[in-house]
């Protein structure tokens, strides 16, 4: 019998910004007094230059932790908020990660269950092939101003590397139930969800559909409910996971925190994000039950292995949750989520058009941040060019592709520019110098006024460069962000 299929690595990403729910309630409570019950804690909030693709890239980098496994055979991306309806989003992620081109890329969408359903399918795939699957889920959630969803939702992403071999958690089994239960839906042309009554969702939905799914799984796997060590299930209705645990005979202490108070619910990514968070804390030999919800139910059962002790994401969910920056100005949330028509000023009229032909031939540099390394003198440089930039070398056509995204760098010079148009002025940029060689006058992100200094360590992150509203295009490139392993908690 071959090795069991399971999880080889895990990671995730919670955006740095957190909207203070209290600030949102203060702004909207006059209109909807019912929001007061949701005023505690924070929700994660994507920066203006983040979307489901960029967050998926960060989650994947967290999972891979600097490794570039050559045997990744598939990248699957699950999301209900993909930036492109018809341009494969997983393909953008794969190019940003510089994965080999002989790879299966696939988007999964259209349900909150896309994360867990996709995970089951990806594990099935991994069972039948030798290569590894990088399974990603991300959501930058949409909600109307002054809605409860605005307070319940959060933005984030998760990543799991799946396959056989040195697994940190083996799949014991899975079970799925499909039921066209409309707790909410979002029509094809609609920006926002339409939801139904919470009591009906709880009593007819969660409390009936989840138990039969889980029971069938436990039965199939021959695992007793009392033997579950971690019950991982998102729910925006606070009492539901504990109620279900009780109903199913799962010890109540095993119910994983949904992180509602720290980040809210990150849609299709949330079950996987909670799973990754659980794996950070779990011990070898423990049993994890993961439940995903959305027009039915997915249940997966994992058992952790001894390899879990050595497995570490680059930064991990716990650290990501820890290092937030609290936003108390609700207007920023409105602006970043396009919920208010802002006067952007005349400089915003100029929109950069991306020619697909130019993007395609330069895509490893633009999407993958691959520079060149001179074979003659070793100089790293961006962009790659025919002649080596080293004045003492100047060799022609000497440069091998050199991925630079993971290279540590520092700030040589910087400014906070209030003149150029930015959705989040002032825009910071500066000369970023890579320790191994190479430099770039780069946009900076996730920085606050007064937060940049010469010599500051930075890390490159894949972000939205510009949105071309006229053509519905999102242009991506890499920006410098403060080294997030050194970032402390802050409030604006």
């Amino acid at each position: 019998m071959s090795d069991p299929v399971g999880i080889l690595g895990f990671g995730g990403y919670v955006p740095r910004l957190r909207l203070s729910r209290g600030a949102a309630v203060e702004a909207n409570g006059w209109f909807n007094r019912g929001l007061g019950s949701l005023a505690k804690g924070e929700r994660s909030m994507a920066n203006w230059d983040e979307d489901s693709v960029t967050m998926a890239v960060e989650a994947a980098r967290d999972c891979l932790n600097g490794a570039r496994p050559e045997d990744i055979a598939a990248v699957h991306l699950a999301s209900t908020t993909l930036p492109f309806d018809d341009r494969q989003n997983a393909g953008i992620v794969a190019e940003a990660l510089n994965l080999p081109e002989a790879i299966q890329t696939m988007d999964l969408a259209a349900s909150q269950r896309a994360g867990t359903t996709g995970l089951i399918a990806a594990l099935d795939r991994a069972a039948g092939t030798d290569g590894k699957t990088l399974f990603l889920a991300a959501d930058r959630r949409r909600s109307k101003a002054a809605s409860p969803q605005e307070l319940q939702f959060g933005d984030g992403a998760a990543a799991l590397l799946l396959g056989r071999g040195r697994t940190v958690a083996d799949l014991l089994g899975s079970h799925q139930v499909a039921a066209d239960f409309l707790d909410h839906y979002r029509g094809g042309d609609a920006r926002f969800d339409y939801g139904w009554e919470e009591r009906w969702i709880r009593d007819e939905g969660y409390l009936k559909i989840v138990p039969k799914t889980v029971a069938a799984l436990l039965d199939k796997a021959g695992v007793d409910a009392a033997a579950i060590d971690h019950f991982v299930m998102p729910s925006t209705i606070a009492a539901v996971p504990a109620k279900l645990a009780k109903q199913l005979g799962i010890p109540e202490a095993t119910v994983a925190d949904t992180q509602f108070s720290s980040m809210g619910e990150a849609g299709a990514a949330h079950p996987l994000l909670l799973l990754a968070h659980t794996l950070e804390r779990a011990e070898p030999g423990q049993t994890i039950l993961l439940v995903g919800w959305g027009q039915g139910c997915d249940a997966l059962l994992f058992r952790t292995t001894d390899a879990l002790r050595a497995a570490r994401p680059r930064r991990g969910i716990a650290a990501s949750l820890e290092a937030g920056h609290t936003i108390t100005n609700y207007n920023r949330f409105l602006a970043f989520n396009d919920l208010v028509e802002h006067e952007h000023g005349i400089r915003a009229e100029f929109q950069i058009k991306t020619p697909p032909s130019a993007l395609y031939r330069n895509r490893d540099m633009v999407t993958g941040f691959v520079g060149g390394r001179c074979r003659s003198c070793g100089t790293v440089q961006f962009p790659r060019a025919h002649y080596c930039v080293n004045p003492n070398c100047g060799a022609l056509d000497s440069q091998a592709p050199c991925p630079m995204a993971e290279m540590p760098a520092t700030v040589q010079s910087w400014t906070a520019d209030k003149l150029t148009y930015s959705p989040d002025p002032p825009t910071h940029f500066g000369m970023i110098v890579f320790a191994e060689g190479g430099r770039l006058m780069a946009d900076m992100t996730d920085v606050d006024e007064g937060g940049v200094a010469v010599g500051m360590p930075v890390r490159m992150v894949f972000r939205v460069k510009a949105r071309d509203a006229d053509r519905g295009f999102t242009a991506y490139f890499w920006k410098a962000a403060p080294d997030d392993t050194r970032v402390a908690r802050a409030t604006d």
Partner: protein, 399 residues
């Protein structure tokens, strides 16, 4: 090194329109203003011009492409006209073309014209434009002040200058230029200002405030050049202003991509200055150069340029500035006409405007701001950003 251009070409005449917000003028009106003065000064007929060079940088805002707009504005008789563009250094490019054609003997008399009509963009500062398909995909979202502000943060860090001291030196640069500009009837901004006003102005790009940034203006400038022999044959007597050096250095991407440049100076300016001093036969610039007009697009640009032109020691320019070395009564008067800061910056015209001031000063025609018997003037014209740019330097003196 090639023999160079020294004393092969003289300026027969120059003209410059007032710079400013000319709401009532098109580009051709500005061209004609500058040209009319220039032609009268040269004392020749329009039809005696053999060839022309036409500089403008942001052509989509006013005249469009090609050299045709100059031919049409002046109804030139189907002569060769070359359109040149090197960003904010375009004006000096026009002069270079005209001077070289005369030196080569390809033209007896050549015209250089630079113009920019910027005040139809609807906002202050330079317009947002594409920088090329691939560049747009990775260049930072940078304004011009943001790009030059980097000089200040890098300079303060490298030379361990307290940012407050540097900010004060930068303020002194702008105060000096406003003092000078107030004496220039053609200048865009003619109001003296105080250090405190500069220090308290709104921030544009940290640490550059509003008064660290030059004006954005409409304007045109023109020069007619010929050989000393032809000038004499035309009956020109008295002092003649001669081109002693004309140099251009263009970035090759090393500042932007190779980890040698520290971001506190302009490599191009240093290269062009070294070559220009050699071409002009100047060994000791601090003693030889009587006056300068430099590319003070931002106060910090002027400050580091003092070091790049070898007029201040590295890391010392901020002190020299505060000591008044570059004031009108200082060691090397700088921006006697108000500079880009106050004369204004109609991009394509600026290089020729700088030469115009040197020309007037050398001939003793600078009016209220006339320096006492200057011998050598230097202009420094920059285009682009500190990490990717062109720098041109002209040295002028009496024949």
């Amino acid at each position: 090194m090639a023999k160079g251009i020294k004393d092969k070409v003289v300026i027969l005449g120059m003209g410059c329109s007032p710079f400013g917000e000319h709401w009532d003028k098109n580009a051709d009106d500005l061209i004609v203003d500058a040209f009319t003065e220039c032609l009268a000064d040269a004392g020749i007929e329009r039809t005696q011009i053999d060839a022309a060079w036409f500089a403008t940088a942001i052509e989509e805002g006013h005249v469009g492409k090609t050299a045709v707009p100059l031919g049409v504005a002046l109804r030139l008789p189907f002569i060769p006209i070359t359109r040149v563009e090197n960003a904010c250094a375009s004006g000096t490019e026009a002069l270079r073309g005209a001077v070289y054609s005369v030196a080569a003997g390809a033209a007896d008399i050549a015209l250089a014209v630079g113009v920019e009509k910027l005040k139809d963009t609807g906002y202050g500062g330079l317009p947002q434009r594409t920088r090329g398909a691939f560049n747009d995909m990775y260049f930072a979202n940078a304004s011009a002040p943001g790009s030059f502000a980097q000089l200040a943060t890098a300079y303060a860090a490298k030379h361990r200058v307290d940012p407050a001291d540097l900010k004060r030196a930068m303020a002194q640069i702008s105060v000096k230029s406003h003092d000078n500009g107030a004496k220039n009837p053609k200048a865009h901004l003619r109001n003296p200002i105080t250090i405190d006003k500069v220090l308290n102005a709104p921030m544009v790009a940290e640490p550059l405030g509003l008064f660290d940034c030059c004006g954005v203006s409409d304007g045109a400038a023109a020069a007619i050049v010929t050989t000393p022999e032809i000038a004499a044959a035309l009956g020109r007597t008295g002092d003649q202003v001669s081109i002693k050096a004309l140099q251009l250095a263009v970035s090759n991407g090393s500042e932007a991509s190779y980890n040698a440049w520290d971001g506190t100076y302009l490599e191009t300016t240093r290269q062009a200055a070294t070559r220009a001093y050699a071409e002009a036969g100047i060994d000791r610039p601090r003693e030889a150069v009587s006056m300068i007009e430099v590319h003070d697009c931002f106060s910090i640009t002027e400050l580091v340029t003092m070091e790049d032109l070898y007029l201040s020691d590295e890391g010392r320019a901020w002190r020299d500035v505060l000591d008044g070395a570059f004031n009108a009564d200082g060691r090397t008067p700088c921006q006697i006409d108000g500079g880009l800061k106050c004369f204004g910056h109609p991009v394509g015209a600026s290089g020729l405007r700088m030469v115009y001031e040197m020309y007037l000063q050398l001939l003793g025609r600078a009016g209220e701001r006339q320096l006492s018997s200057p011998e050598i003037g230097l202009t420094h014209n920059l285009g682009g950003w500190p990490h990717l740019n062109v720098a041109s330097i002209a040295i002028l003196g009496k024949l």
